[in-house]
Symmetry: C2
Subunit: 248 residues, 2 copies
C-alpha cells in the first residue's frame, strides 16, 4: 500500500427522512464515473441520520426539570438540552457551557452528538443514528445489492478531544473491514516484539475524509481508494471498556 486517493462526492441533494441514501450516493458517484467497489466510502453521520429520520422538531420537545436547570445555568435552549439528556447514558463532564456526554452507544462527546447546524431546517435537531454500525452495514448492503462489488463503509462524525483544540472526524460505525488493524505481537524493524500497536483504521479513515468535508462544503461522503478493505468488524466493539478506561 503506497498510495491512497480520496475523492469528495459532490452533488448529493439534500437528504430527507426515508430517502434511499445508497441510490443518492451511487447517482452522485456515477456522475463522476466513480466506482465505489474496492474502496472505503466514508459517509458523514448527518446524511445517514437524516435518511433514517433521526430529526426532531424542537417545538415537539418538552424539557424536563433537569434540562431547564442546565439550560438556565448555561444559557442554552432547554429543548436542545432535553434532547442531549435523552441521548445520553450519563454526563461525563459539565463546565464552561459544555456538556460532555456518554451516549447510549458509548461514545463520549459534546452534546451527545445532537446537532442544530446543517439540520433539515430552522428549529430542528439531528440526532446520531441509533446504531451507526447497523447504518453502515445497511448502506454497504444496499450499495453492493446495486452491484458496486465489496467495499468498506464508515459512518463518521466530527468530535472534539480532551487536551487538544480543534475537531477531528471519528468513526461512529463501520462495515466491511477491520476497524482496528492489530499489529500487536509482530516484530518491529529491529526484530523486537511490538507489545501494543493496534492502528484505529476506521478512525484514521474518518479523519482523512474529514479533510475533504469541511462544515460548509456540502460534501456528505468521501471515497478512499488504495486501501484493500478486508475482514469485518464494528466500531462498537472498539469502544474501550468503561471498567478499564482511565478517563471516565
Amino acid at each position: 500500500m503506497n498510495r491512497l486517493e480520496l475523492l469528495a462526492l459532490r452533488g448529493v441533494p439534500a437528504v430527507a427522512p426515508g430517502d434511499d441514501l445508497a441510490a443518492l450516493l451511487l447517482e452522485a458517484a456515477g456522475r463522476f464515473g466513480l466506482e465505489l467497489g474496492g474502496g472505503v466510502l466514508v459517509v458523514c453521520q448527518k446524511v445517514v441520520s437524516k435518511a433514517e429520520g433521526r430529526v426532531v422538531a424542537l417545538a415537539e420537545v418538552t424539557p424536563s426539570a433537569e434540562a431547564l436547570a442546565i439550560a438556565e445555568e448555561d444559557g442554552k435552549d432547554a429543548r436542545q438540552v432535553e434532547l442531549v439528556l435523552r441521548e445520553s447514558r450519563r454526563i461525563v463532564r459539565r463546565g464552561r457551557g459544555v456538556i460532555i456526554c456518554e451516549t447510549h452507544h458509548g461514545f463520549v462527546c459534546a452534546n451527545a452528538g445532537v446537532d442544530l447546524s446543517n439540520a433539515t431546517g430552522p428549529d430542528h435537531a439531528v440526532l446520531l443514528p441509533e446504531d451507526p454500525d447497523a447504518s453502515a452495514r445497511r448502506l454497504r448492503d444496499a450499495l453492493m445489492a446495486r452491484g458496486t462489488g465489496p467495499l468498506g463503509v464508515v459512518v463518521s462524525d466530527t468530535f472534539g478531544r480532551p487536551w487538544r483544540e480543534g475537531l477531528v472526524d471519528v468513526a461512529l460505525g463501520c462495515a466491511g473491514f477491520r476497524p482496528i488493524d492489530d499489529q500487536r505481537g509482530g516484530p518491529d524493524l529491529a526484530g523486537r516484539i511490538l507489545e501494543v500497536t493496534a492502528a484505529a483504521t476506521a478512525d484514521q479513515l474518518a479523519a482523512a475524509a474529514g479533510l475533504l468535508m469541511p462544515k460548509r462544503s456540502g460534501v456528505p461522503a468521501v471515497l478512499v481508494r488504495g486501501l484493500d478493505p478486508s475482514g469485518d468488524g464494528s466500531v462498537s466493539d472498539t469502544l474501550r471498556d468503561p471498567e478499564t478506561d482511565l478517563f471516565r
Copy 2:
C-alpha cells in the same frame, strides 16, 4: 478541494543522529519523481528524533527511587520508567501498567512518547523531539532551501486516546500551514451561525498519513497532495489550556 492524494515515501535509509533528514527525504522523493512543493509532508517523529540525536542508551540511565518503585509495581524496565519521568511534567493517570503523562511540551500520552520499538538498536530508547514545531520548521526550511517551493510539514506520532481502543496518528509539530482550520462564525448550509467548528487539520493530516505508515512498513513520511497549505502556525498553540480542560 475535491481530491487528495497520499503517497508513501519509501526507500529512506535508517536515520542516524546528525543525518541530514531533508536530504534523505528529497533523495527518496526524487527516486519516485515526486515534487514535494505545494503539498504537506507528514514525517514520523521517530526519524526526526533520530536525526536530532534524541536517542538514549538505556545502559547510561540511572533510575531514581520513584522510577524503581513504579517499575517494580508495573513489571517494567526501571531505566525506561526513569526516561518517562524525565520527559514528563507530571503523571496524569497511572493504572493497569500504563503511565499517561503530560510531557514537557504539554502532550498527554502514554509513556511521555518514550519508545523502545524501532529504536536505533537494542537497549536504546527514542525520545520525542524537544520542540517538534521547531523540528517541522527546520525541516521545511531545509527542504525549501533545496528548492522544493512552499510546502507544509507535519511531525507526527501515534497516540492512544481515552474511550476508544486503537491508536491514531496526531501532529506533534507543524510548519507552513494553519494547524486548525477555523470555521467558527461562518454560516452553515441553512444560513445559521456555526458556533464552534474548528477542524484540526494538522491532526487529520497526521491520521490520514498514518494509514500509509503502519508500524512495520518502514515508511517514514507521506506526502499529501491536493490541499493548498496556507497560513502558518504551530501545534503548541493548539494544545488546550490545562485551566480550561475538563480532563486533567
